[in-house]
Symmetry: C2
Subunit: 156 residues, 2 copies
């Protein structure tokens, strides 16, 4: 979980805060560093827990107040995989157009990109009189193990 900090993403978020004339605080820093030190999808609750390891004073309220800033910046995206909680994906700084494939059984998630799909989308959307801002593509299916063994629940 404690991977290397994505310096670029962090820098871009700090610029975003500056542009909006928002202040840097210890709590925000702890949250930001947490978010950009993982490539995992996380829930609001996990973000509270992890951020508190960096700064014990981070409150749930501040996390909930920071999440909209993160999504507004475009560096993090809110994802609904049909589970009880929303998930947040911190990988949009590096891969602004990536998609998700989720195993219906074990819930393993793989991210992938496709120029081809993006191009076709663009074409269709233009014909419909729109232009594209952002897209999200989620595929649900069966992973290898599920196909092979008929089950794969709870990890590989």
């Amino acid at each position: 979980m404690a991977e290397t900090l994505n310096e670029d993403a962090k820098k871009r978020f700090l610029e975003f805060l500056e542009t909006k004339e928002l202040r840097m605080t210890g709590q925000r820093l702890a949250i930001i560093d947490t978010v950009f030190s993982t490539k995992e999808h996380f829930t609001a609750d996990q973000l509270v827990e992890w951020s508190r390891k960096r700064d014990r004073s981070v409150s749930r309220a501040t996390v909930y107040r920071t999440l909209p800033l993160l999504t507004e910046s475009g560096l993090v995206r809110e994802m609904d995989f049909g589970k009880e909680h929303k998930f947040y994906d911190p990988n949009y700084a590096d891969h602004p157009n990536h998609n998700h494939i989720i195993c219906k059984d074990c819930e393993k998630i793989v991210e992938f990109e496709s120029e081809k799909i993006a191009a076709i989308e663009d074409e269709i959307v233009h014909k419909l009189g729109f232009s594209v801002d952002s897209q999200r593509l989620q595929i649900t299916g069966s992973c290898d193990t599920l196909k092979r063994l008929g089950a794969c629940k709870h990890k590989h």
Copy 2:
């Protein structure tokens, strides 16, 4: 709002209920007829309201207990457009693979299908060791009016 009943979708849902050995009740019928008489996306709350026009005894609890049956049948899909409420899309009986493009300003939604996208998805997903069960593609962008006039909020 009161369009023609989608008889096929209704029939398929009744079969689904039978398979699961669930009983037909007046309330369920009112809800089902409501769902398959519109092509609009609706919220749980709207479904309560509309169903009550057919049968005043339909309670909120029953609607909430019926929605999971509808989604489980695959004839209706839960959609998250990033708004406060979830939406339900009753058009999956006729178009099991359709996608959505949403205007970021007026929130106009257009549904579209693409064989090409489906084929590429399939190819990529196979390479990743998965097979496709279902997919959801949501594009956010600007509609014609928004592009032309710089604004289009609240309808056209």
